[in-house]
């Protein structure tokens, strides 16, 4: 039996609270009530489980306890009693095994959280708070804003959902393309937020879990499948991305034997299905790029021509500076560092640390250690995570030693 401590309950909270909150929102139609009740239920769990051990179905236990708490709250208010009369039948449902409709609840909730009537910042914050079970402080940290700012953002967004009656349902077929775009963007942002910071693993797993359930609920949406493949293939390399001291390890230096084959196989299978369907989109192409990387037994044997061709296609669909930058890095592998550097120097990305890191790498390969040192220093100054900073500081030292 696992030791029931705060860490374990915290983990269960991350994994289960989204389901519970989503189910309670369906039952009671009130986000704050659902959130508070689930929070309280975990408070009870913390005391009870550490004494008695885990119940057979912790998530179901939390949902049932939270539902009872919410009913208690509503009984204390007269408006609550009216609402209770309406939801009485639903609240009496057996709750032992939460399965089918619960996934639907999470899907409904993500479409509410990612409604285009909300700002993208609010969409991400709501998704992480309500579905990811992060605290307001953790959401604030993940997006580098002060906690009061994030708290205000969440309050305002929840108020808008309530006041404007943003619906809690999966959009119709006709609405879907427009409504899916922000959902995928939020899931991708969530995964990326999980590539650094204290709650990183949970964020990445949550992003993958949510994307996986979306993919199974919307099997005809190729971009959902594409995003899932992209996340799986990126995640497959995760254990090899950091050295023991926490510093970043570049793709070229990673131990490919340690990449997670089962994630790669799953990602590859999805990419192949997408290729057969031939409805390419930005996530599918990024997944394909990652599939090429995961296919290569070594960095040198990577099929850079194919990667460059995929970046060409991606750049047409999403002509952003970051895509142009990544294309330039691929170009450098095909045509040499000079060609890559020429493109990079034409891009206005001065505030982006990876831009300076990419330039520095090419400068070093071109035998210009002075310029490389300057660029690595700038990259290290701008780095957003400790792992990247440690890596870039070490690179700065290497470039500097080239000078002598």
């Amino acid at each position: 039996m696992p030791i029931v401590d705060d860490a374990l309950i915290g983990r269960i909270f991350r994994e289960e609270s989204g389901r519970s909150v989503a189910t309670l929102i369906r039952t009671f139609g009130d986000i704050d009530l659902a959130e508070d009740a689930v929070q309280e239920a975990f408070g009870v769990a913390l005391r009870k489980w550490s004494l008695e051990g885990l119940p057979p179905n912790p998530g179901g236990w939390v949902t049932t306890t939270a539902r009872n708490r919410a009913i208690d709250h509503l009984r204390r208010e007269s408006r609550g009693r009216e609402l209770l009369a309406q939801v009485a039948e639903i609240a009496d449902e057996p709750t032992g095994e939460e399965s089918g409709p619960v996934e639907d609840d999470r899907l409904r909730l993500i479409f509410t959280c990612c409604h285009p009537a909300l700002s993208i910042e609010a969409q991400v914050a709501l998704t992480l708070r309500l579905l990811g079970g992060l605290t307001t402080a953790e959401v604030a940290r993940a997006f580098l804003v002060p906690e009061p700012t994030m708290a205000k953002r969440l309050v305002r967004a929840k108020h808008k959902i309530k006041a404007a009656h943003i619906p809690y349902r999966v959009p119709s077929e006709a609405e879907l393309p427009e409504r899916l775009r922000p959902v995928l963007a939020v899931l991708y942002l969530t995964y990326n937020a999980g590539t650094n910071g204290p709650s990183g693993d949970e964020l990445r797993y949550e992003a993958i879990r949510l994307t996986r359930s979306m993919a199974s609920l919307m099997p005809d949406e190729d971009e959902v499948a594409g995003l899932l493949a992209l996340l799986l293939l990126t995640e497959s390399r995760w254990p090899t991305r950091f050295a023991a001291n926490g510093s970043l390890i570049l793709l070229r230096d990673q131990d490919r034997g340690l990449w997670d084959r089962s994630l790669i196989d799953e990602g590859h299978a999805i990419v192949r299905t997408c290729l057969r369907r031939n409805q390419p989109g930005p996530y599918q192409i990024q997944a394909a790029i990652n599939a090429v990387h995961c296919d290569a037994p070594s960095f040198e044997s990577t099929d850079w021509y194919q990667i460059l061709a995929l970046y060409d296609q991606l750049l047409v669909m999403t002509p952003t500076r970051v895509v142009a930058m990544n294309r330039a890095i691929a170009l450098a592998e095909v045509q040499g560092p000079e060609a890559g550097l020429t493109i990079l120097d034409g891009l206005d990305l001065d505030e982006y640390h990876l831009f300076h890191a990419a330039r520095a790498d090419l400068l070093r390969r071109l035998g210009r250690p002075d310029a490389a040192t300057v660029a690595f220093t700038r990259a290290a100054d701008l780095a957003t995570s400790d792992a990247e900073r440690a890596f870039l500081v070490a690179r700065t030292g290497m470039a500097r030693s080239d000078i002598q």
Binding site: A117, A163, A164, H165, P171
Partner: protein, 120 residues
């Protein structure tokens, strides 16, 4: 049922070429068609088009007296030009009507939820 204000704004000084009666009729037809669609769907509560901002008058309390002045209250480049008040099941339904209005009149539509009052 939730109520929403769908409002459209006119930009001060951006006066259009005056329309002939025939053009006016042509422009009006799809707007009327949409309005009857709203009515038969049970969504329409009220709608209206407003005269220009320089026809507006402001009344306010100044000390113990009522002060009446010319002009709209808000000093802005854009002013309320017309609106619909509709009933819709939720924001998506309201946005559906707003999409139809914006297509019909070729101007952006602002969708505002009303605060629910007793008795709707």
């Amino acid at each position: 049922m939730p109520r929403y204000l769908l409002s459209t704004h006119s930009v001060a000084g951006a006066t259009r070429e005056p329309m002939t009666d025939e053009q006016m009729q042509k422009a009006w037809e799809p707007i009327q068609a949409l309005e009857s669609e709203m009515k038969s769907a049970g969504a329409w509560v009220f709608s209206g088009r407003l005269h220009d901002a320089d026809t507006a008058t402001v009344v306010r309390v100044s000390g113990s007296e009522i002060l009446t002045t010319d002009g709209p209250f808000v000093e802005a480049k854009e002013h309320l030009a017309g609106f619909y008040i509709i009933e819709a099941a939720d924001l998506d339904a309201a946005l559906g009507w707003a999409s139809k209005v914006t297509r019909t009149i070729s101007a952006p539509i602002e969708v505002w939820p009303f605060v629910a009052t007793e008795g709707g």
